[in-house]
Amino acid sequence: MDFGFCLSPSSHVKMDSVDQTTFNRLKETNPDINTCIACGSCTATCTAGNFTEMSFRRILLMLQRGKEEEAKKMIQRCMLCGKCTLVCPRGINIRKILLDITR
């Protein structure tokens, strides 16, 4: 029956059951991830983000929540242009992290 409204599915994430292996591996090779303040500068300037949903900030969030497949799917859009790295106020080497996720 259509009421014209519905309940949105729960976005609850159980952190205990999340698989963070990729994120932890990334943290080891790229400790600068820890300094991210999630300001979204990377997302705002992203060339691919202009056409798609591509957002590095969300990729990090996905990895933290163990959604590796979703993150990788998003990286497929990346053109590696490097604008994100250039605007990052924390000097995080984002292009390297993107490449490392795919290896």
């Binding site: 990788k72 990346c78 053109m79 250039l86």
Partner: protein, 578 residues
């Protein structure tokens, strides 16, 4: 007793020579067979094409024999290398020439002279068996002393390299150090043996030669025979495709690890980072240390300075690129979302623009360059349009630089389509990174591709743009991808000279130092990049200019962080003085 020209001390030499010759022949066949079929055909054809054949002869003499490029780079090192290599070559040649004028000593069988087999070692040890005429005696002694003078410089360089103008020298492993010791002692031993005829020194001389030749294939001295093959392959126009095969292999073995690239590399601001230079990359790759080679390949800024100054012209950036391409990525890029993009002609515009302006990703981050270009084009009365007013598609160069050529193709294809849709005949770019890929990879027949420095220079020369001359002292920084890659050195300088006073930087043109921001590097951290930037800025500030001018949005952004004076793009400077 001496039945004919022989003594057991020649045996070590004969053994060494036989080994090195066999190794070289096998290596030659292997390297050529590793070339892809098309490349191999190209290679054979180049040997008989008059133009490349002439270039081959010129470079074989100029590079292998006279070492012209080292002389140009550093005359002291030029003399050092020539004294040893050319001196040795002359001793071998003269030795063979005088073979037939020698008067055998008493007890040496004259008949033996005719034996061709003995010719193999006879000129190397002749003094033990025969006496030469005075002219030859002088020549042989002259070149021997010349070699020893070269070795003396090499020893000084080893002890204190700064005396010969080298800041950092390559660090070697055990094999290289041993062979170097053998090389340094060969000629002093020969001199003593010839002058005193003491048997022990003849033996030492021969054993030294054996050590040198038997270990040659496993050390940097392999560059001596390989460089000849490399020159032939380079002129055939081959391209390194795999990091350790075919053409790349010939280059690996041609690298003499001389270390000139270490001082030249922008990364050599401290000892730790100087380990990322091409000399070490080639060394690691040769030793099959693929982890290190991979790391260095991905750390390199790809500025191309090492290639520009290399005395052997080793194309190390291409090999690094092939190393990057060989690293697997467990992801399939998907750029299908680009497919429905098309060129929107602004409303009201009926005709095709004569100039299509592509700002590029980096210029999108420095909108002042875009504004300046707009002002310049309007002032010149140009009919222009933007290709990427509201954010365009990346040119594909960063993707290519990461080694993913197939993925870059999607962007190249789409951009080509958009440019052709616009109907423009001139494409003006503000970013040298884009300029390189547009020039190299795009097929835009009938469309003139210009960087804005060239475009502005054209406008001024055609009289369409009038500029006022000020009295500001400028210094110009050559962006890597505009200068070294395409030799655009004069246009920006001419433009700046019409705007103010142009001062010189300490390192200019093909020696220009990368700003440190290059997209070529994946591994450098921000702190490491900053160190490179500071060094590059200091080099530009050599003559105390009032302002640094560059022609690359990425250089502009990078320098602005560390420069004590204002940094501007050339378009901005022009737009202010219209």
């Amino acid at each position: 007793m001496n039945a004919y020209i022989f003594h057991p001390f020649v045996l070590p030499f004969v053994l060494g020579m036989a080994f090195v010759l066999t190794y070289c022949v096998v290596g030659l066949i292997r390297t050529i067979s590793q070339l892809p079929k098309a490349d191999r055909r190209k290679f054979w054809r180049s040997l008989v094409t008059p133009k490349t054949a002439w270039a081959n002869i010129r470079d074989l003499f100029g590079d292998c024999l006279f070492h012209v490029k080292i002389w140009k780079r550093n005359p002291v090192l030029g003399y050092m290398h020539s004294a040893i290599a050319f001196g040795w070559f002359m001793i071998i040649v003269i030795g063979h020439v005088m073979l037939f004028t020698l008067k055998p000593l008493e007890g040496v069988d004259v008949e033996g002279l005719a034996r061709t087999f003995t010719n193999f070692y006879y000129p190397i040890f002749y003094k033990h068996f025969a006496a030469e005429t005075p002219v030859f005696a002088f020549l042989m002694d002259f070149f021997l002393l010349m070699i020893i003078s070269g070795i003396l410089i090499a020893v000084v360089k080893k002890i204190h390299s700064k005396i010969v103008g080298v800041k950092r020298v390559t660090k070697f492993g055990l094999a290289d150090t041993m062979v170097r010791l053998a090389l340094w002692t060969i000629f002093p031993f020969r001199l003593i043996a010839e002058k005193s005829n003491i048997m022990a020194f003849w033996w030492l001389y021969s054993i030294d030669l054996m050590v040198f030749m038997c270990m040659l294939p496993f050390t940097r001295y392999m560059h001596i025979p390989t460089e000849a093959l490399f020159i032939l392959m380079r002129h055939a126009g081959l391209q390194a495709r795999e990091p350790r095969k075919g053409y790349a292999l010939a280059q690996l073995y041609s690298c003499p690890s001389c270390g000139l690239c270490i001082d030249a590399c922008p990364m050599s601001v401290n000892d730790k980072m100087s380990g990322n230079t091409s000399a070490y990359f080639m060394q690691k790759l040769r030793k099959r240390d693929s982890e290190e080679a991979k790391r260095i390949a991905e750390t390199c800024l790809m500025c191309g300075k090492c290639v520009a100054i290399c005395p052997v012209s080793v194309e190390s950036c291409d090999i690094k690129w092939s190393q990057r391409a060989a690293t697997p990525y467990y992801i399939n890029s998907d750029h299908s979302y680009l497919e429905d993009r098309h060129f929107d002609r602004p409303q009201g515009a009926e005709n095709s623009p004569s100039v299509l302006y592509f700002a590029g990703c980096m210029t999108q981050l420095t909108p002042k360059i875009m504004r300046a270009m707009k002002q310049i084009m309007e002032s010149a009365g140009e009919v222009y349009e933007f290709l990427d007013k509201d954010g365009g598609i990346c040119c594909g160069r960063p993707m290519l630089l990461s080694g993913k050529a197939a993925e870059a193709e999607a962007m190249i294809k789409k951009n080509t389509e958009l440019i052709k849709q616009s109907g423009a005949t001139k494409l003006v770019l503000s970013c040298p990174i884009c300029y390189k890929v547009f020039k190299d990879e795009y097929h835009l027949e009938g469309i003139e591709i210009l960087h804005h420095t060239q475009y502005i220079d054209q406008l001024i020369k055609e009289g369409r743009l009038k500029v006022k001359k000020g009295d500001v002292n400028y210094v110009y920084h050559d962006p890597c991808e505009l200068g070294r890659a395409f030799g655009v050195y004069d246009e920006p300088r001419e433009v700046l000279e019409s705007l103010g006073n142009l001062l010189k930087a300490k390192s200019e043109k093909e020696l220009s130092i990368c700003c440190g921001g290059s997209l070529g590097s994946f591994n450098l951290t921000q702190q490491q990049r900053d160190e490179i930037t500071v060094n590059s800025v200091n080099d530009l500030m050599f003559n105390h200019p009032d302002e640094i001018v560059t022609a690359c949005p990425l250089c502009l952004k990078t320098f602005a962080r560390k420069s004590p004076v204002a940094v501007e793009d050339i378009a901005e400077v022009v737009s202010k003085q219209l």
